[in-house]
């Protein structure tokens, strides 16, 4: 929150995305929006509950069409696979289309030291790769960059004359990347959906870089979490509509690719080799938790980020892991452990806006509450929250004893600066300074305690 320009940029951009979504899902334009959410939740639930079956079905179908499935349990295995293949094929240049999964496993970093150039081709991702940064937002990775910053970046890293017109900056990137597409040995993509009955990978985009990544090089590797699975191609009717509308308000993105293997028969172009890497990397751990398993239904639309009043104030880089916003808040503790960032599940006012817009109806607030309970249990076990716990135990004890509660209320009221509920105070006398009170007062005034509590007034009224 320290950078007001950036703050304004996030707030404005997320606001625009909210508005676009609203226009695309209102009752006139999309009368069955709520039904689609229910359907999507049901299909995801079914798929996740029977994931082993669908993984095997998917694998059979990929292989039937000439491709190969590679199961990887973690990040190093994916890197080993890609490096091994690259070495075998004497590859030196890789082009990549946008994939949060590859960010999750730090793929680019892992490939860096092996005489392999891996270039991001989504414009926003390309820019942040040049800048050596992490993406700011699931759908808009370079949200935080101004055109002046982009101009600096292009000049610094590419040696081109300084250019601040956005359209021209885009064309510079286009020209550089086109050369890469046409020279690349391997194209690596993510997958928005894996389709079990077709052995297909579905990619949605607006730029065309995913199409180029998966059509120009001779080898295509798609890397996806195992939970991206949906059962049937026909389910795309619901999922594609929800994804586009929820993410950017588009009924369909500019390009939707349905890729099911290397080019076949007499097809003229396309890759000769097709691999789908199915990644675990902790997903099976979340899968084992029946209550929180629905976290894995996520289709990565970004709607929860755009609607979260906390995310809109603090942005993506304030989060500890690649996944930010509400979905990040529930995935991070589940993947990395509640101790990794114990404050994260508490960094929410539980307003529920995320759950309201989630296309697959993940109950994010409920999972946050579950995680909060887990954090406290862990802290109790480790003995790190003795004071806080004592405070709540005392509080609960007082709340079970009405006379004590009443006395405590009167005691607090007598300490409070005067006012009959009409006065609001900016500060309290030093004698009663307590951290929560200070924190409250740092941002707003505090009501002074009224002369009489409700129960006192009630007794007088009778």
């Amino acid at each position: 929150m320290a950078d007001p320009k950036l703050q304004f940029a996030i707030f404005a951009a997320t606001g625009r995305l909210m508005e676009k979504r609203r226009k695309a899902v209102n009752a006139e334009v999309c009368p069955d929006y709520q039904e689609m959410r229910t359907q999507a939740n049901a299909v995801k639930r079914h798929t996740i509950e029977h994931l082993d079956h669908y993984l095997e079905l998917f694998e059979r179908n990929v292989e039937a069409h000439g491709g190969k499935v590679v199961f990887c349990k973690d990040a190093p295995e994916v890197a080993d696979f890609v490096l091994g293949l690259a070495k075998e094929r004497r590859a030196s240049l890789i082009v990549k289309s946008k994939s949060m999964t590859t960010e999750e496993i730090d793929l680019n970093e892992r490939l860096e030291h092996h005489q392999l150039e891996a270039v991001e081709t989504d414009l926003g991702e390309y820019l942040i790769q040049l800048a050596h940064e992490r993406p700011y937002h699931i759908v808009a990775p370079a949200l935080h960059k101004t055109k002046e910053q982009v101009a600096d970046l292009l000049t610094e890293r590419l040696g081109v004359p300084r250019e601040t017109v956005i359209e021209k900056q885009t064309m510079i990137a286009r020209a550089v990347l086109r050369e890469k597409f046409l020279a690349a040995d391997i194209g690596i993509s993510g997958a928005n959906f894996l389709v079990a009955d077709s052995g297909a990978v579905v990619l949605v985009e607006n730029e065309g870089n995913a199409r180029l990544t998966t059509s120009a090089p001779k080898i295509h590797i798609a890397i996806a979490g195992i939970v991206k699975m949906i059962p049937r191609a026909q389910d795309l009717g619901v999922f594609l509509k929800l994804l586009g509308r929820s993410a950017t308000g588009q009924p369909l993105t500019v390009y939707t690719s349905f890729l099911s293997g290397p080019r076949r028969g007499e097809e003229i172009d396309g890759p000769d080799e097709f691999y789908v890497v199915l990644l675990d990397n902790g997903r099976t751990k979340v899968l084992a938790d029946r209550e929180k398993r629905e976290s894995l239904y996520c289709i990565r639309c970004g709607a929860c980020l755009n609607h979260c009043p906390v995310y809109r104030k603090i942005g993506g880089h304030s989060f500890p892991w690649v996944y930010s916003g509400p979905i990040g808040a529930i995935l991070t503790p589940q993947f990395l452990g509640v101790n990794h960032e114990p404050g994260l599940p508490f960094a929410s006012s539980l307003c529920g806006a995320c759950a309201e817009v989630c296309p697959v109806k993940i109950d994010i607030p409920k999972i946050l509450l579950d995680l909060r309970s887990e954090v406290k249990k862990a802290e109790i076990r480790e003995g790190t929250n003795r004071l806080e716990r004592l405070a709540f135990m005392a509080w609960a004890w007082v709340m079970r004893h009405p006379r004590l509660y009443e006395m405590a209320g009167m005691a607090a009221a007598s300490l409070s600066p005067s006012g009959d509920g009409g006065g609001w105070v900016r500060s309290v006398p030093l004698g009663i300074k307590v951290p929560p009170v200070d924190a409250w007062l740092s941002q707003r005034d505090l009501p002074s305690a009224p002369a009489k509590s409700f129960r006192q007034l009630w007794r007088e009224r009778r």
Binding site: A13, M36, Q39, A42, V43, H46, E49, H50, D52, H53, N61, H65, V70, F71, K73, E77, F81, T121, L123, L127, A140, A142, K145, T146, K147, I166, Q169, T170, D197, S198, G199, A200, E207, G208, R211, L212, I226, A233, Q234, G237, V238, L240, K241, L252, V254, T256, S257, F258, L259, S260, G261, R263, R264, E267, I268, D269, G270, D280, T284, A288
Partner: protein
């Protein structure tokens, strides 16, 4: 690499055993509305134009050729092997390469011409979408590399929308290694949320319905 390991972890997490049968998934949900051809074409064009694409209703194959000629305006172009392009005489226009079946040759041409001309296997009216299946008639890169894309769509291939496509083509993977839905010109708003067209794919598209 870790096939058994991962599958085992999945099964354990779910309490399932190998080969355990699966209940039926929720039934597929597809809504295919009724819409006459004129209505479809009208909505189709509206959607494409809203995305800054250009549209043309060709009264005849000759008309389609004339339109294509005017767009190409003497520049180099590459046409796919779609029958409609031959039938309409588009492939005989001056400066047009066609009949290419070699992948390397195709790539070289597609990367250097100003216009790519294709047919379309289907089109989707309610989103203004072209559906292209990779085949010996349609190479992938023709609708992707050149900065201008001209698509000639035979009207009987115009469906109401994605749901109708998936109803008549439930298993696209059986037909092709690549089915692409194209909805408007390539675009990005990655820098300061300002819209720029033609970032990787064509920035200009023309859809001719014949």
């Amino acid at each position: 690499m870790s096939r058994e390991h991962v599958l085992h972890k999945v099964r354990t997490a779910l309490g399932r055993s190998a080969g355990q049968p699966v209940e039926e998934p929720p039934p597929v949900r597809l809504n295919v509305p009724e819409a006459g051809m004129e209505a479809r074409i009208s909505v189709f064009f509206e959607r494409i134009e809203a995305l800054a694409g250009k549209t043309h209703r060709a009264r005849s194959l000759e008309d389609a050729r004339a339109y294509a000629e005017s767009v190409i305006a003497g520049r180099r172009a590459l046409a796919s092997n779609a029958a409609v392009l031959r039938e309409s005489g588009i492939t005989s226009l001056a400066g047009i390469e066609s009949g290419v079946t070699d992948g390397a040759q195709l790539r070289g041409l597609a990367a250097s011409v100003a216009c790519g001309i294709t047919g379309a296997d289907y089109a989707l009216a309610d989103t203004g979408t072209l559906v292209m299946l990779a085949s010996p008639q349609e190479a992938r890169l023709i609708s992707l590399l050149p900065p201008v894309h001209i698509a000639v769509v035979e009207h009987q291939r115009l469906l109401t929308g994605l749901d109708e496509l998936l109803s008549i083509l439930p298993h696209p993977a059986e037909q092709t290694s690549s089915m692409v839905l194209i909805t408007g010109p390539s675009r990005t708003a990655d820098i300061e949320q300002i819209l720029v067209r033609g970032v990787h794919g064509p920035g200009e598209i023309h859809v001719v319905v014949v």
